[in-house]
Amino acid sequence: MEWLERNVPKLVLAPSFVAILVFVYGFIGWTAWVSLTKSKLMPRYEIDGFGQYGRLVASPRWDVAMDNLFIFGALFIVISMVVGLMLAIFLDQQIRSEGVLRTIYLYPMALSLIVTGTSWKWILNPGLGIQEMVRGWGFESFTFDWLIRPEMAIYTVVIAAVWQASGFVMALFLAGLRSVDTEIIRAAQVDGIPTHRIYTAIIIPTMAPIFLSAFIVLAHLAIKAFDLVIALTNGGPGYATDLPATYMYAMAFSRGDLGQAAASAMIMMMVIFAIVVPYLYSELRPRRDH
């Protein structure tokens, strides 16, 4: 009875513990195993060594996918943060219709690109969307055809991704701005610091933890970006907009090349690990709550 009472917290966590152990780590282990086999259509379990990784490294398509991940990831994260921060700061200036604007900025997070993908495809399509419209206004030489240019198409993915996530980042930053001690701002005003310097030198640096949270959320979206690419370009033109997630999906489900897919999944997971673990460390490092 006493024992039960003392161990209730642990017992309560036990189901989650088991679930996470099996359904996250067990499955990662399973993937690692399969990545060492010659699994094709369905998993096979005879270990075959690191051949799949060799193929992966040799594949030009995987190269493109990894390059894209870094281009896309970097741009997406930086632009979303800049746009999100800017909107948050602007919204923080006692804007009249803040509630409405906030909702407008935030709503894309509510929609999946399964839903909005077609619409974006049209908007970015030079023959149908913005380019056509601007030309219709009389600017005949206006060109915005990134969607169909292999070297530019990845940037259209960035645009749609920023559209989807920057509002959420804005919300994070707005929450952060609102939690800055107003006395600090007043102190700066008395000190004669102009408003823009108050933001750049004082407020923004204090929001470092929020930048970290935003970075993690965005990195996680970037690595998992799948719907986005499928809906917008389906990896095209050619495979110019492939990302590791789409590569992995193609290998696993349309190519019947499970071993290869598992190997690419393991690489993805290592990238995630490299990003997330320092974050977890900083998040959980013992510190005094006051």
């Binding site: 001690d181 006395e183 600090i184 007043r186 102190a187 700066a188 005003q189 008395v190 000190d191 004669g192 610091i193 102009p194 310097r197 030198a201 004082i202 640096p205 204090t206 470092a208």
Partner: protein
């Protein structure tokens, strides 16, 4: 010339009137303390002086110049906040120099000022730390340093000590006092701690609900409170406010106080006063002594008092507080640590009538 003049100042948020017709004026070198209970509008008044809040009516003049509409940075003031409001990501040195840097002060001057202030406040070893690595007292010093480097005409302090523990509060209080004496600075200082107000101020403003209750020197406020609110608010333990009955008899005033046992306590004030029948007698704990049957000090009024039942005894180092029950309220006396007072026993107490205040129970105003 007065450094700060506030005339008929009004301040409202929408329909809520926070400050009503405030009139204050202080001279160069004055240490003005605004004191009052939480929410009475002290910070609001200070923010109005600083220009951080727009005012609704009246005028504020700093150094003779009307500053209505002038932005905080151009008012030639410096301010220290309750939470210190240090810039958390900057080192101590940058916290202090940042304002100068923004104002375009040249590097050499910055360094010189920083060095001077750091020496003065003894924070040289801390200059490279971040605020997060400082203790409360150290943060407080840095916040002061930030204000000092401005060399302003007027310093504003908003409860700068209230986040410190009791011990530190006492020693920082002394330092602020010393700073004031050394710099001969003009200071407006907000606190809700009346001990702070008493020890620091050259002039005190007692506020309540956005209205000034009394303005005066600490001694005036302490010895001759204008009303029961001020009497109760200033001093710790608070002034005892004892409901009593008064009548003038034989050229003297007789005061009758209900006592739990043994009928009312009657004491005689040798001065004939014009008092209503129902009064409130205000007497500070230190003006209640162990009765010895003779005048306590030469030149003072004779002792007046009697035996009372002691409820609680609290020895507190240098003093011992004894609590009894008179006129329906607890009454505290501050006795010497050596006193033989014991709880649940009768004990003779005497009031120093030269120092008592009389108040009207209706409007709370002072009668003598």
């Amino acid at each position: 010339m007065p450094i700060l003049e506030i005339d008929h100042l009004q301040k409202s948020y929408g329909d809520t009137h926070i400050l009503h017709d405030i009139n204050v004026s202080i001279d160069e070198g004055d240490f003005l303390v605004l004191v009052g209970p939480s929410g009475c509008g002290k910070s609001t008044l200070l923010n109005c002086i600083a220009g951080l809040e727009p005012i609704t009516g009246g005028t504020i003049r700093i150094g003779g110049r009307d500053v209505t509409g002038v932005s905080p940075k151009d008012r030639d003031i410096a301010m220290v906040f309750q939470s210190y409001a240090l810039y958390p990501t900057m080192s101590v040195a940058r916290n202090i120099t940042f304002g100068m840097q923004v104002r375009g002060v040249d590097k050499a001057t910055q360094a010189a000022k920083l060095a001077e202030v750091a020496r003065q406040l003894q924070i040289e070893p801390l200059l490279n730390r971040k605020p997060g690595q400082l203790s409360g007292g150290q943060r407080q010093r840095v916040a002061m340093g930030r204000a000092l480097v401005r060399d302003p005409r007027l310093f504003l302090f908003d409860e700068p000590l209230s986040n410190l523990d009791a011990k530190l509060r006492v020693s920082m209080r002394t330092e602020i006092k010393k700073l004031h004496q050394d710099l001969n600075a003009s200071i407006v200082y907000v606190t809700h701690d009346q001990i702070e107000a008493m020890t620091l101020a050259t002039r005190i403003v007692v506020m309540k609900g956005g209205v000034i209750q009394q303005i005066g020197t600490p001694a005036e406020i302490y010895n001759r409170p204008a009303n029961m609110f001020v009497a109760d608010f200033m001093g710790s333990p608070a002034m005892n406010l004892i409901p009593a009955r008064a009548r003038t008899e034989d050229g003297a005033t007789r005061i009758e106080i209900d006592r739990d046992s043994g009928g009312p306590l009657v004491i005689t004030d040798p001065v004939a006063r014009q008092l209503p029948a129902e009064i409130v007698l205000g007497v500070r704990p230190e003006d209640i002594h162990e009765a010895t049957g003779q005048a306590h000090l030469p030149g003072h009024a004779p002792e007046a008092g009697g035996e009372v039942l002691i409820d609680v005894v609290e020895p507190a180092g240098a003093d011992t507080f004894a609590v009894t029950h008179l006129g329906g309220t607890p009454v505290t006396a501050r006795l010497r640590a050596e006193s033989a007072v014991r709880p649940k026993q009768m004990f003779p107490l005497a009031f120093d009538l030269s120092k008592v205040s009389y108040f009207s129970p209706q409007d709370g105003l002072r009668l003598n």
